[in-house]
Symmetry: C2
Subunit: 199 residues, 2 copies
DNA sequence: AGAAAACGTTATCTTAAGATAATAAAAACA
DNA sequence: TGTTTTTATTATCTTAAGATAACGTTTTCT
């Protein structure tokens, strides 16, 4: 991985959340880790504590759950230039209840929990990192809020149509059965919905 | 409302998120507003921007959506000693898509968006308020994450049983048709589920 | 206390989702 | 290139959820 380019790209995509001075940026970068994940390998597995918060520099990942009867249910995706973590596990220091798997060869920029704590506690970066953390959490909170609202106010068909209208990457890049899981239905059911709304 | 007692209680319940020195606390308090909400009145209505983040000192509130065909769908509740806001609207400064209504005579401690911005920008409170905001957002993020996971991995019946096992306040204090909405199903359907699991 | 509203259950009917299996097409791979 | 594997659709059957209405009970209101 070209870490120089990766850093540059990361800084770019951090702008909506935090803008660093050059000095701060150098310090911040000293905490970063860069890893590559081969297709189909795991970033985190259920039962293990997620120790990193990440940024997808290249590639994409899939979040999924394994239910008691062994069914694989996809809950979310992160594409390049998006954050990625088993966030609840990372924050609570509890075992994750989901897996995160690379869907293609993927480059990640990681911040370990320990590094984050150090930055939060540091004189130079602390304040800015608190803000960064707040804005990231708020951003995802709003996303989750939308999603919960969709589950309680809309039918599966309505949720799918909304997703279509949103034009999100998911539609172009993910197989349909993952999308079905994401919408809270079975792949067979989504296939039927698609036929229904075509007529 | 006894604002002295309310402040004391608020400080107590803020502890998991932020611990203020006495000086900081005085300053913080100078930004607070105290209001009482009569039963059935609204804290926020859909279409209006939510300008306050609140804490329920006494009473309880219900969050609900009105769908296009006029159906009222309850999405959430806040009881005493919990936070309360149309958070997405508050954060994004966009019109809310939901209502928040007092279920009984309710006492609220409020922070206006303007006050919060001032605190965040202030020398004395800024850093601590960033952290406070971060921890609150993270807390709710985890709650939402659980809820979304329940929607995609569990059946309505399983969700209800989990709720039963959780022993949450909702069960004791909310009418069943609100609980049904909260679980993403109709009241009639919840009634059937209850009968099913009794046998 | 009496009237009105809200609530929970039940019944009926309709609709759609889950489970499962078969099939065909597309993609991955080796 | 030829072979798996993955994917999407379709069919059948079963199950449960939505819509609606009726009913009795409880709660709220005045």
């Amino acid at each position: 991985m070209d870490t120089l380019k990766a850093k540059y790209n990361f800084r770019e995509h951090l702008q909506p959340f935090v803008v660093f001075t050059n000095d701060e940026w150098e310090l911040f970068c000293s905490y970063l880790e860069f890893i590559s994940l081969k297709k189909k390998t795991y970033f985190i597995e259920a039962g293990k504590v997620c120790n990193h918060f990440g940024f997808v520099n290249k590639g994409s990942v899939r979040y999924f759950h394994l239910t008691n009867d062994g069914t694989d249910i996809t809950g979310y995706f992160s594409f390049e230039n998006e954050f990625m973590s088993s966030y609840t596990s990372f924050l609570k220091r509890e075992p994750a209840n989901n897996y995160i798997q690379a869907l293609e060869d993927t480059e990640l920029i990681l911040i370990s929990h320990k590094s984050l704590q150090e930055m939060l506690a540091s004189e130079k970066l602390g304040h800015k990192m608190e803000r960064f953390g707040r804005l990231v959490a708020e951003y995802y909170l709003c996303c989750y809020d939308d999603r919960v609202t969709a589950f309680i106010t809309q039918s599966p068909e309505e949720r799918y149509i909304k997703l279509l209208e949103s034009g999100r990457d998911i539609l172009r890049r993910m197989p349909q059965h993952y999308i079905a899981n994401f919408l809270g239905i079975t792949p067979v059911s989504l296939s039927r919905i698609r036929r229904r709304i075509l007529v």
